[in-house]
């Protein structure tokens, strides 16, 4: 009797265990597998949403309105859209198609283009690893706002900037250093007297790291579900916000500032072009490697060009739609842009939105909604970055399972984010963020777009035109860039630099065309010779970027 009882109990336990496992798998699905055994997205929509979630972040909701505020007027869309079509979409197509065709993260993908490009493939992983570490701390500050949104009256009433500096960031001011007169030497270095850890920031960071871990530890099957929430919620709340902002008093005047003004003279200055390229570049999120690693979980023959256009297009739509909310508020607060005054990258968002929230009836509700949106948007960009590193490690064939790798990676990254949680963390974050963005990120993308189109199947070209011509042509290309940039900075004006750079490129191109091996030809005479050399020039300049690349890497 007793035996039978235990037997039944054991059977029941087994059943419960089986159900529990089933339930676990139902909630945390294992990803589907492609023919080659690689994990696969549950659907194309899941991939697109994850990629869009990566590029949609605070860059769209906070940075874009500030940039547009400084360059208000319809003329803004000329440089902006040119940058989208000439830079963002081509680079995006490259990143997506190589991931998809070569079935791997960026290191594997670039190794397939040429063995010497492994470093280029490692660049985006480095960028993502560093950026995700301080990005979570940024989100921890927003969590602080979120927590405070539940107290009434809102604690930042009448002290918006003070609240941000002293309650959220909570860094004592450093003793600023300076340069000597004329800027030739450093007179004194900035010093940071306070170095303690800030408990609340550490706590919220740990919370964000947990969310990140939860979203990616199980692979793209699970991530494919998370993204419906992380992309769906911000879209809904943004629509609500735009509706609310546009119904504010005098909102129309703010919207008219952007959509009903034309300032053609602005286009003559170089700044607006530079700003447009910078904005498009950072808000799209090229150079972080997540498009490549996420596309590697696609079906091999998905339409990469279409995907790139959709991702970029939705990004453009989203940020311009969200701008309506800010400009509605700008009209309501009558905070008109002043001539000659340029506001910093996130200032308009951080000044207008919390201020606008205060003015609305039911301020707490709107504050909660606003900061929830910002957190979800930022967090969906954060976990894709860590996933880039995870993909690299999982692909490299280490012996551990994906959950183990992601767990270890999350713990290490959490430890690495602690310096940003200190009483000098805000300044440390600024220092790292600025140079990672301005130097490594730009360099990595430059490397991606130029190297892939220079060394891809380069032996074909040297076989046809000879090595010397190939070297001279590329010397002209890279030397031209270097000379152009150096001269422009040296004389302090762009014109001579462009002339020098372009001039040396043209000279080298002509020399290369001249010394290129002559193609086999039956006809004689000068004209036929010129034609022959011209066709060799085509190989030098366009072979790597021609049909071969597009045919070999189906996009």
């Amino acid at each position: 009797m007793f035996l039978r009882c235990t037997h039944a109990a054991i059977m029941a336990l087994h059943k419960i265990k089986a159900y529990a496992q089933k339930g676990f798998r139902w909630i945390f699905p294992e990803p589907d597998k492609a023919e080659d055994g690689r994990d696969q997205w549950p659907s194309r929509a899941a991939f697109l949403l994850a990629a869009m979630g990566g590029c949609a972040g605070q860059g769209n909701l906070l940075r874009y309105p500030s940039v547009v505020y400084n360059n208000y007027g319809l003329q803004w869309f000329i440089p902006y859209l040119l940058a989208v079509f000439l830079i963002a979409i081509p680079a995006l197509v490259l990143e997506i198609s190589i991931g998809q065709a070569y079935r791997g993260g960026s290191v594997i993908a670039f190794n397939n283009i040429n063995g010497r490009l492994k470093g280029i493939g490692l660049g985006p992983v480095f960028v993502s690893l560093i950026v995700v570490q301080y990005f979570t701390v940024n989100l921890a500050w927003i969590m602080n706002y979120f927590r405070n949104s539940f107290t009434s009256p809102l604690p930042w009433e009448n002290r918006i900037e003070d609240f941000y500096n002293n309650d959220v960031v909570a860094n004592p001011a450093p003793i600023a250093g300076s340069l000597t007169d004329g800027g030739n030497n450093v007179a004194s270095y900035t010093s940071y007297p306070a170095i303690g850890l800030i408990g609340e920031t550490v706590g919220w960071s740990a919370f964000i790291w947990f969310l990140i871990w939860f979203s990616i530890f199980r692979g793209v099957g699970m991530t494919g579900r998370v993204v419906y929430f992380t992309m769906g919620l911000p879209i809904i709340t943004t629509i609500i916000f735009v509706g609310r902002a546009l119904s504010l008093d005098n909102a129309g005047a703010g919207v008219k500032l952007l959509w009903g003004t034309w300032r053609g003279d602005q286009l003559a200055s170089g700044t607006v072009w530079q700003t447009a390229v910078g904005q498009v570049f950072f808000s799209t999120g090229i150079g972080f490697g997540y498009f490549t690693s996420y596309a590697s979980y696609n079906q091999k023959h998905s339409n990469a060009v279409m995907d790139a256009v959709l991702i970029c297009g939705s990004n453009v739509l989203f940020e311009n739609f969200a701008a309506f909310a800010i400009f509605g508020v700008v009209g309501f607060l009558r905070r008109w842009p002043q001539d000659g005054e340029r506001l910093g990258a996130f200032v308009v968002g951080f000044l207008t939105l919390p201020e606008a929230v205060l003015q609305m009836p039911g301020a707490n509700f709107w504050a909660i909604l606003l900061f929830l949106t910002l957190i979800v948007l930022g967090f969906s960009s954060a976990f894709v970055m860590l996933d880039v590193v995870a993909t690299l490690l999982v692909d490299s064939g280490v012996k551990y399972s994906r959950p183990t790798i992601v767990t270890a990676l999350t713990l290490v990254s959490f430890l690495m984010c602690l310096p940003y949680c200190t009483e000098f963390g805000y300044y440390f974050l600024d220092g790292v963020d600025r140079w990672i963005n301005n130097i490594v990120l730009i360099f990595v993308v430059f490397g991606e777009v130029v190297s892939a189109t220079t060394v891809y199947r380069w032996t074909d070209i040297t076989g046809r035109v000879g090595l010397p011509a190939f070297i001279v042509y590329n010397l002209g290309y890279f030397g031209g860039l270097l000379i152009g940039v150096t001269v422009a900075h040296g004389v302090g004006s762009a014109g001579p630099g462009a002339g020098a750079g372009f001039g040396s490129f043209v000279v080298c191109t002509l020399v290369a065309g001249f010394i290129a091996k002559a193609p086999a030809s039956d006809s004689f005479g000068i004209m036929s010779k010129v034609r022959g050399q011209a066709s060799q020039l085509w190989y030098l300049a366009f072979y790597s970027v021609s049909s071969c690349l597009t045919v070999d890497i189906p996009s």
């Binding site: 000439l86 830079i87 081509p90 490259l94 791997g104 290191v107 594997i108 190794n111 397939n112 283009i113 040429n114 063995g115 010497r116 490009l117 492994k118 470093g119 280029i120 490692l122 660049g123 480095f126 340069l179 270095y189 900035t190 570049f281 690299l392 490299s396 064939g397 000098f424 300044y427 220092g431 790292v432 963020d433 140079w435 990672i436 301005n438 130097i439 730009i442 360099f443 993308v445 430059f446 777009v449 130029v450 189109t453 220079t454 199947r457 032996t459 074909d460 070209i461 076989g463 000879g466 860039l481 152009g484 940039v485 790597s544 970027v545 021609s546 049909s547 690349l549 045919v551 070999d552």
Partner: protein, 123 residues
């Protein structure tokens, strides 16, 4: 599309890149800026190291996929068609396939005869 990458995106990015250095020069009294700047330069060096010593990064690629970038290529032939060519080659018997291979290598030309590349392919 790739034409844009090399002849539009490339130069534009090079110009934007160049703005970073004068900017750092005006901020070089702040230790945090210096730390970030050094970190960035190290990242850049890491990327460039890959050109010089590519095999140092082989650890990030599973062993069976390391040779994938070293296909034999033929001028103006897409790689997918090369695969079919080599399949055809392996099907035909001795003498004929010898002549096919010769014409293949003629098309490839002198660039592939660099000793270093040949060594990589043999590896």
């Amino acid at each position: 599309m790739p034409v844009l990458l090399r002849y539009v995106s490339g130069p534009v990015l090079a110009i934007i890149f160049s703005f970073a250095f004068p900017e750092f020069h005006t901020l070089r009294y702040d230790p945090m800026m210096i730390t970030g700047f050094i970190l960035s330069i190290l990242g850049m060096v890491g990327v460039l190291l890959g050109f010089v010593m590519p095999r140092y990064y082989d650890a990030f690629i599973p062993a069976h996929r390391r040779d994938e970038g070293t296909h034999l290529t033929v001028l103006n032939e897409p790689i997918s068609q090369l695969d079919t060519l080599s399949v055809v080659n392996s099907d035909i018997d001795g003498g004929e396939s010898g002549s096919r291979e010769k014409s293949l290598s003629e098309g490839v030309g002198s660039g592939n005869d660099l000793p270093e590349l040949r060594a990589e392919r043999l590896k």
